[in-house]
Symmetry: C2
Subunit: 372 residues, 2 copies
């Protein structure tokens, strides 16, 4: 029997459509839709909970559905004591994504007997609480329970900073969470689908999602972006540093995107938000001006557009969020996309089992140790 | 700017070669090579440590290299106390793979400051110790430290059963560990490569590997196989049950394989081993005869060959290994393949970021709540 011939495809599956999806669509011309809605429309009008419902269920909720969904999330937001104990055993200097990954994994070994649907709601509800409290424990602080009067975004700021945010602050964070919620087959969502395809459960799949999101080529870029901006300090120095980095062949963080070649719509929405937030907090728009200068210079020199991370990072900074929480924060929102991809994968599943072209040696013969 | 056209490929990436590899090659005609060596040659002649060295380094070790490699593994086999504490926090009824996944993840948040090479050796050394002691703790037993006078296979049996195995027993388990060590781009190794491609570390990647291996379509099959065989009891009832299951359209566990359409070479090697092991332990070859009958019936009726899981499972049973350890045991050996795939991915990396064909709605407009 002759071997079936494999189709060789580009590395990284670049340009290779591995599935149909009706969750989201990003296009190189700078458009992004969630379930048919333009990202700008949702950014302007929707809430975290509404958008999560939309991504999960394919339709915007009516008021009864939204109330029920929000209630389902709120009533599941208390973390089991054992998960806190697990986090307390981890090293204080561990990478925050290693801590979060372990906490998510442990949840799957502590919450026993839930239905698949309950598991999903639990994970979406608890992920922001995990993000905030893994940070708190790693920083030597006591965990904070979410306040049932606050929505997801406000609760995140409350738990992270230990005090309730202003309306402007929680509104701003909510906008960023909406932008981070879903982005078709990025590496973490693809990881979730591969794990889902074995019929492993949602905790297994999302643990894999967090694992992939740790990688500096994926989730780690927003931390690198703010560190660069803070080092630059002001527009003039920013411009000089960009030129200097480019001359040395260094990577300028927060630029370029696999899909968006002209502009990242999420970056442009975040840019306006950054200005509004800085001004709303009564400070000059200094990070906005710096970022704008760097963005223009990068386009002039390299024709690379700023991506979401480049503008989300200064927003998180103005909101007082500790830098080490930036990547975990991504997971607090993206978990909604992961759960949707998990369900879509299982709705028409075939296990991922690609081929590889063998290019190694052949017909070698085991030699006894003394003949090697 | 028009959208670049995506190439649509078969679901599950069936028949799609996503990378070159020089680690292993499996072919539909029933051949499997590791780094150029036939699996039967390694099965007959090699040890766990030698085969692991081969898969990791692309060559069989000479005696100095093997001694050094074995020493490196032995000196890293002690688990940090905190990892045990993490496992103690998990539910006694949690799925063993959820426990193992959490333990592997926690190792990455406890072992700080190792080089990438040290991390890999640590993980390969500790995985069997994790497998055995996660089981022990979940069963209410105290953990057992590995005995530095025993090799990996003997230590596994010693830690699992609490007493040193006979030479035949540890030799038999070692054969199975060799067969399970690597199998090109199965779902867990592919998961490892996707996570590796983000530049996340080996703990992140192997946590994802364990997560994928949990799935009943991947690692879970050997448990199902032994449960079926034990229920059958004897050849005559086995034959009747097969016919009955087929008549009802039920899946008979341990048959069929994505690659091997005629026979799985690992199953055939295991089959001979099962006979030898049963006879060597002075019992009649009753599981062998039962399995042989079921295998022949399945080939006669469905032209489906027995796969590795079908014959590994009764071997584990004869070795006294608790059924809930069968899938974790797979990970204790496959971790070697995962680490090799991780390194091969990074040697010529491009992040996995496939496309999807959007088939959802378009141009929807956000409506205020009261108009929905």
């Amino acid at each position: 029997m002759s071997e079936p011939v494999s189709t060789k495809v580009p590395r990284g599956l670049y340009g290779v459509a591995v599935t149909d999806t009706s969750i989201a669509k990003s296009e190189s011309n700078g458009t992004l839709v969630y379930r048919g809605y333009e990202i700008s429309d949702l950014f302007e009008n929707s809430t975290f909970e509404e958008t999560a419902f939309l991504i999960l269920n394919g339709k915007l909720p009516n008021s009864r559905e939204l109330q029920e969904f929000s209630l389902q999330l709120k009533k599941r937001s208390t973390l089991p004591k054992n998960v806190y104990e697990v986090v307390r055993e981890l090293d204080r200097n561990a990478h925050p994504m290693d801590v979060l990954r372990t906490a998510v994994s442990s949840l799957g070994a502590v919450e026993i007997g839930l239905s698949p649907k309950e598991q999903q709601l639990s994970l979406i509800s608890k992920m922001p609480v995990l993000v905030a409290n893994c940070y708190r424990i790693s920083s030597g602080k006591e965990p904070v329970q979410p306040d049932s009067n606050l929505n997801t975004a406000a609760n995140l700021l409350y738990m992270l900073n230990g005090k309730p945010p202003t309306d402007l602050e929680s509104w701003a964070l909510e906008r960023e969470l909406i932008l981070y919620m879903e982005h078709d087959l990025n590496a973490s969502s693809f990881t979730v689908r591969v794990i889902a395809s074995t019929l492993a459960d949602i905790y297994a799949a999302c643990t894999g999602g967090v694992a992939a999101l740790k990688g500096p080529l994926h989730g780690g870029a927003n931390e690198a972006a703010i560190e660069m901006l803070l080092k630059m300090g002001n527009p003039m120095q920013g411009e000089a540093m960009v030129l200097n980095m480019l001359a040395k062949g260094e990577k300028v963080m927060g630029f370029g995107h696999r899909i968006y070649k002209e502009f990242d719509p999420r970056a442009q929405l975040s840019k306006k938000l950054l200005k509004r937030l800085e001004e709303g907090k009564g400070r000059s728009a200094s990070l906005y001006e710096l970022a704008d200068t760097v963005e223009k210079k990068m386009w002039e020199m390299k024709k690379l557009p700023a991506n979401l991370d480049f503008y989300a990072a200064p927003i998180f900074h103005v909101l007082g969020i500790p830098i080490k929480v930036y990547t975990p924060l991504f997971a607090a929102s993206r978990v909604v996309g992961w759960v949707s991809h998990y369900n879509e994968q299982l709705s028409d599943n075939k296990i991922f089992r690609p081929d590889a072209i063998y290019v190694g040696p052949n017909k070698l013969k085991y030699l006894p140790m003394n003949e090697r």
